[in-house]
Assembly symmetry: C2
Homo-oligomer: 345 residues x 2
């Protein structure tokens, strides 16, 4: 029997934790219990977590509870929060992973602190210039990987090239049957568009494009991110963060106005009876909880950040993402990509 997939879970981070975390875990176990190929290492205050495990009838052999009395604070400044993070549930997750007892860590806690201590403890991989935060975006045919979403607000061409390697490895771990197509986010699709930095990165990606790691698909503009022609969209963390949040803001603006329109009159309310199932499917497809979880790539082990404000179903999706990433051998895919890059240089 092959080694079980081992996930370190910070049960104390984010709003309404550990309740939503444990409920999310219960969804995960219900869905995957027949697999019997995972161990969930839950870090947090033992007595509270025990109580929540009882609440959600969780009594699984796949659960390993590890007491951590202290918790990373959301109120402290990032600097002091990092200083005081030792032996918190978040810290203990990453440390468990460093010791090889977990393959991946997940937390819904303070993003800044998670990025800093993950990097401090796990360290950057050789051959990676900067780690990146990657996210999943819905598109016409499924999902894209987009990175960096804000770990690095200033980037060099080499950083962008590394993000292409990391992002395409992530995509391959999630969708092993698809050869990822990589694009650089830019203000136009013609070769002359963009900064010198982007043009240089584009040249390098052209050289690296191959069946073995990824197919370079040229520049992509913001309006085409969700078209699904490229699987991995690479950009610096400043632009990526603004693109992601602008998309979120636009989606929320439109759905709010739609909801208002469809409930404003007696007639439109009646229409909801007839469109109930269609609108439900529409809502499900665009449910942000399905795309919850940003993946921190480029360290000696992956770390997943769940949205702090998301509910238990959202947390379940990011936990499932952890499971799929490890099952798809992400670290191996990254190493293969980086090896290929080195052989081209």
């Amino acid at each position: 029997m092959s080694k079980k997939i081992s996930i370190a879970i910070d049960a104390m981070g984010g709003d309404n934790s550990p309740d939503k975390i444990i409920e999310g875990i219960s969804f995960f176990i219900k869905k995957n219990n027949s697999e019997n190929d995972f161990i969930l290492n839950i870090f947090g205050k033992e007595n509270i977590i025990q109580e929540k495990l009882k609440k959600y009838n969780l009594n699984s052999n796949s659960i390993n509870l590890i007491n951590s009395n202290s918790v990373v604070s959301d109120e402290e400044s990032p600097m002091t929060a990092v200083k005081n993070s030792k032996n918190t549930s978040m810290w203990n997750c990453i440390h468990h992973q460093l010791e090889g007892k977990s393959d991946i860590s997940i937390s819904a806690g303070n993003t800044g602190v998670l990025l800093v201590i993950s990097r401090m403890i796990l360290k950057m991989m050789n051959d990676v210039s900067k780690p990146a935060l990657a996210g999943l975006w819905p598109n016409q045919y499924g999902v894209n990987v987009v990175l960096d979403l804000g770990a690095n607000i200033e980037c060099s061409e080499q950083n962008l090239v590394d993000f292409a390697e990391l992002g395409s490895a992530l995509f391959k771990s999630l969708f092993p049957k698809i050869k990822p197509k990589v694009s650089l986010l830019n203000v136009g699709s013609e070769e002359i568009k963009g900064t010198e930095m982007i043009k240089t990165a584009s040249k390098k990606l052209k050289e690296l494009s191959s069946e073995d790691n990824f197919i370079y698909n040229g520049y992509i503009e913001g309006n085409n991110i969700m078209k699904g022609d490229s699987n991995v969209i690479v950009t610096d963390g400043f632009t990526g963060n603004i693109a992601l949040k602008t998309a979120e803001g636009t989606a929320s603006f439109i759905t709010k106005n739609l909801k208002k329109s469809l409930t404003e009159s007696f007639l439109s309310k009646i229409s909801l009876i007839f469109s109930y199932f269609s609108l439900k499917k529409f809502k499900e497809k665009l449910d942000p909880r399905k795309y919850n979880g940003a993946i921190f790539l480029g360290l000696n082990g992956p770390v997943v950040k769940s949205h702090g404000g998301i509910d238990s179903l959202g947390f379940y999706h990011s936990l499932d993402l952890c499971y799929k990433i490890v099952k798809g051998n992400l670290m191996n895919e990254i190493r293969k990509n980086l090896e290929h890059s080195k052989s081209v240089k």
Copy 2:
């Protein structure tokens, strides 16, 4: 009687021109004819335009047709297109404006060529470091001004400060009763967020904030652009272009999926009967044609770029924008803002 508002219109630019341009003009005249306070100077091939004027029953004293035999090509490379642009309908518009015979120019033609020749002919204003392309975005309460949308892919702090001056002057010309609140687009709202360049620009904007020109409202994140708390959103042209296009792509992704959902089953089709008027209002509020028209600011006269692919109703909206901008004394507002800035320095 005060001087009439004089608008130079390139009738030959964009898809399906001059037909859509002349139809757009007919909408404008129908709406505003009672005002009798404008002159529309139409530049293009006289015989074709005469024919279209007949088609749309346009026989107004407010129309002044000026023959221009050549047209800026969309197929040529931007460099050669600029070289060959002399005496085209687009060039003649801007030149008419330079001679003081028009207050503003509008074209749906090649954007790159329009920006280059506008700058070449009209020249930059003293005290403006770089001109910017501004656009209108819908928000919860009305519209925002967002700039730069792509005229300058690399910007300094002084450029961002100038964009704040230009954008708030534009907002005041459109909404004279509202004191514009200006925000800088950033990856977080805390003071420590963003690049050094953004932090320096933020400090300068704080110093310039006053009842006389604009109120500086701090940083804004992408998800809040459409909330309507700030009237003017300032960013560099790279980020602005990607934010705008990402918003467009997200809106089109959602509406496409919504349309698909609402027409996929017999029941959902029935629902459309009951929600018809509500959905129509929803569609109207978000109709991109209402926000058509990017305004080129910072030259010795404003130039408006209508989307090349938009229809006659879209062109009408950008023509109406020209009229409002001149009526609202944009150039005067810009000069007042720049004067105020100089007095603070």
